[in-house]
Amino acid sequence: MLKLPVYLDNNATTPCDPRVVETMLPFFTETFGNASSRNHAFGWAAEAAVDLAREQVAALIGADPKEIIFTSGATEADNLALKGVFEMYIDKGNHIITTEIEHKAILDTCKHLEKQGAEITYLKVNSEGLPDLKELEAAITPKTIMVAIMYANNEIGVINPIKEISAIAKRHGVLMMSDITQAAGKIPVDVDRDGIDLAAFSAHKLYGPKGIGALYVRRKSPRVKVTAQLDGGGHERGMRSGTLNVPGIVGFGKACEISLGEMEEEGKRLAVLRDKLENALLQLEESAVNGFRAQRLPHVSNISFRYIEGEALLMGFNKNIAVSSGSACTSASPEPSYVLTSLGLGDDLAHSSIRFGLGRFTTEEEIDYAIKAVTETVNKLREISPLWEMFKEGADMSSIEWSRP
């Protein structure tokens, strides 16, 4: 029996896997100790649980457990990576290279650092969502300390050529940071193979709990250091103070372990469902996929439906299908997606785009329902759209002057 609404926004957040919840439960009420309590059994049990989780989280990305710093989430980890490296390496330089389509956690932190004297290069991306690697290399100066480019984009799912990007960074002695939030647990990420020096991610995007994330910080070749942003008891090797969120960490560890084990099969299953959805919706006239199709996360599809007001589109089926027109962090804002406009979409087309994010609990029945509901809504809206009528009558749509209230 189909349960509504169908949730197709797994890039915004995911439900906790029941196996994750089950693993966390004892750490709330029974094994509740403070992991820093070093002189009694409650503390030791909590510490042991954290140690195991640290191994599980590290294993997901091919890291050493000592290279994992737990944080309250990916945003805090992004902040720690950027601010921590900027402060630590200020003697070397003040220049950081990123792209225009990073998550707000990167972009807003970069804007903040600019006020502190940082120079930031925001690389443009092409119409498929990829940066130009020659431009990247040309942007590197003797003052460059870090390249910060996400592994996979949260709105269009396009996967960056991280290995190539990090090779360029390495060649110039520049650190490579990547926000791997959308990729971790979905596609294989390996910090050694991919040449990543710092990586931020969170549990709630991979069926773990909210409120917990991690920053990977490389310890060997090169040994990377960050200046702590939260001072206090010296937890997490002094890089992040604050009582450890033991149940959250345990849940994060379990979620990573499950993802690592099921990633390959699950990726294939989701790609089939995603392709089914995408191919069906591309049957609609004037619909197109945003981003480089050949190099995408298997569970993401961002589609624009030209000549339809995006808000009407969402209103049309949001009661029954939970999707978003972009990042959740900006979805309350009426502005069009900056990711899509960076790809060269006009405001109107950016507004008529929908991100579909499939997940572990998505079924084929739900996809069939979504295909039907989206198709019907698009057709219905176009029936009453004067724009669509003009387009069908062969008007030169580019000559239309838009008046803004």
């Binding site: 609404p5 949730y7 926004d9 915004a12 957040t13 439900p15 906790c16 919840v21 439960l25 709330f28 009420t29 509740f32 100790g33 403070n34 820093s36 309590s37 070093r38 002189n39 009694h40 409650f42 944080t71 309250s72 989430g73 945003t75 805090e76 992004d78 902040n79 707000k104 956690a105 972009l107 807003d108 804007k111 969170s202 709630h204 709990p209 909210k210 409120g211 917990i212 942003q229 939260l230 001072d231 206090g232 008891g233 010296g234 937890h235 103070s241 604050g242 009582t243 969120n245 149940p247 959250g248 949001n318 009661k319 939970a322 978003s324 959740a328 962090c329 900006t330 979805s331 309350a332």
Partner: protein
């Protein structure tokens, strides 16, 4: 062997009633609160309901309550904001603050050349108010006064109103680390002269990983963590919805049972103090046990002997959990910075026993009997 947990100032067990209200937000009600469809709105509603409830209990405006990842983040945010946004160039603190405060102010002192003064402490651990007045009066620059409400090791309670009024007189910003008192005492923030306080759910039977920062509506600060418009642009990052729901529920329960629990826990503490005095020669108490003191904490000073040096170790072997100081530093051999600051007697050993509503007199009898045996 049934373990006895007398380390409730380090952390407390989550109350099962709190867990019950949290669980649905992990699985069915999992939406990202920033999403505009029903799953998201449901999460958003839960957060705003929690915020209203917390604000009401503390007698603050909901717009003054910000959810964070915990007490440490809240203290860091408040202290950094006082310097970066509120023009403070001189920090007045004390040597017995929690490390979240101590290390934050040291960092600002060394990195940004912020002046740092420590207020003198009386031998019972209380702040020397005359000295505080002198420091404020003598400062040419705007001051941040950051003094904790209750000390986590010796339990001393600060007179927040007196300090706040003094700060007002000298136009200083006042932050009080209230991690040990939110959920343990009633607050009336509308009538308390303080700019920032912080709370941490896991100190009052709520979940770890969630806290609050109260920011008085008269001060405007910029975010500490960047990257999203959560918490009204003040604290970026997807909200820890189940944690926030748990924070509010734990605070509601603590408030509902305040009279009953505080009297009960204080009885336990005084009973243990009495029993120790009767049965163990040479002991004393650090702090102001019979004066202004947090009812959950009993800091016992034992004469130093070969046996007392091994006390925590031997207590643990016997299933009794206590602490030599703050959990955050309990791995270090440096000893307690708090005890050192108020009483540098090298011939004493300090052990902190801290209680909760779940402890009993029978447990105290067991512990006292064991201590008699061990000493």
């Amino acid at each position: 062997m049934k373990k006895i947990y007398f380390d409730n100032a380090a952390t407390t067990a989550l109350d099962s009633n709190v867990l019950d209200v949290m669980l649905p937000y992990m699985t069915e009600k999992f939406g990202n609160p920033s999403s505009i469809y029903s799953y998201g709105r449901e999460s958003r509603l839960a957060i705003e309901t929690a915020r209203k409830s917390v604000a009401k209990i503390l007698n603050a405006h909901p717009g003054e309550i910000f959810f964070t990842s915990g007490g440490t983040e809240s203290s860091n945010t408040a202290i950094a904001a006082a310097i970066n946004n509120l023009g403070c160039r001189h920090i007045i603190s004390s040597e017995i603050e929690h490390h979240a405060t101590l290390h934050s102010v040291e960092h600002l002192h060394s990195r940004d050349n912020i002046r740092l003064s420590n207020v003198n402490l009386l031998s019972n651990g209380h702040v020397d108010m005359e000295h505080l007045r002198e420091l404020l009066a003598g400062s040419k620059e705007r001051c941040l006064v950051t003094l904790m409400h209750a000390n986590n090791e010796i339990g001393n309670l600060l007179d927040m109103h007196a300090v706040g009024n003094l700060c007002k007189e000298f136009d200083a910003i006042f932050h009080s680390d209230t991690v040990q008192t939110v959920g343990h005492y009633p607050f009336d923030l509308r009538n308390t002269p303080v700019h920032f306080i912080n709370g941490s759910a896991h100190k009052f039977h709520g979940p770890k990983g969630v806290g609050i920062l109260y920011i008085n509506e008269n001060v405007k600060i910029t975010p500490f963590i960047h990257g999203g418009s959560q918490e009204r642009n003040m604290r970026a990052g997807t909200e820890n919805v189940y944690g926030i729901v748990g924070f509010a529920k734990a605070l509601e329960m603590a408030t509902a049972h305040y009279e009953e629990h505080s009297a009960y826990i204080n009885d336990l503490r005084m009973y243990m103090a009495e029993q120790l005095q009767q049965h163990i020669p040479g002991i004393g108490f650090n702090g102001d046990l019979h004066g202004r003191s947090l009812y959950t904490v009993l800091n016992v000073s034992f004469p130093k002997t070969e046996k007392s040096e091994m006390l925590l170790f031997n207590l643990d072997i016997n299933g009794i959990c206590a602490s030599g100081g703050s959990a955050c530093t309990s791995g270090a051999d440096a000893g307690s910075h708090v005890i050192r600051a108020i009483n540098s007697d090298p011939n004493r050993i300090a052990v902190r026993f801290s209680f909760s509503k779940d402890n009993t007199k029978e447990e105290i009898d067991t512990v006292v009997a064991k201590l008699k045996e061990l000493i």
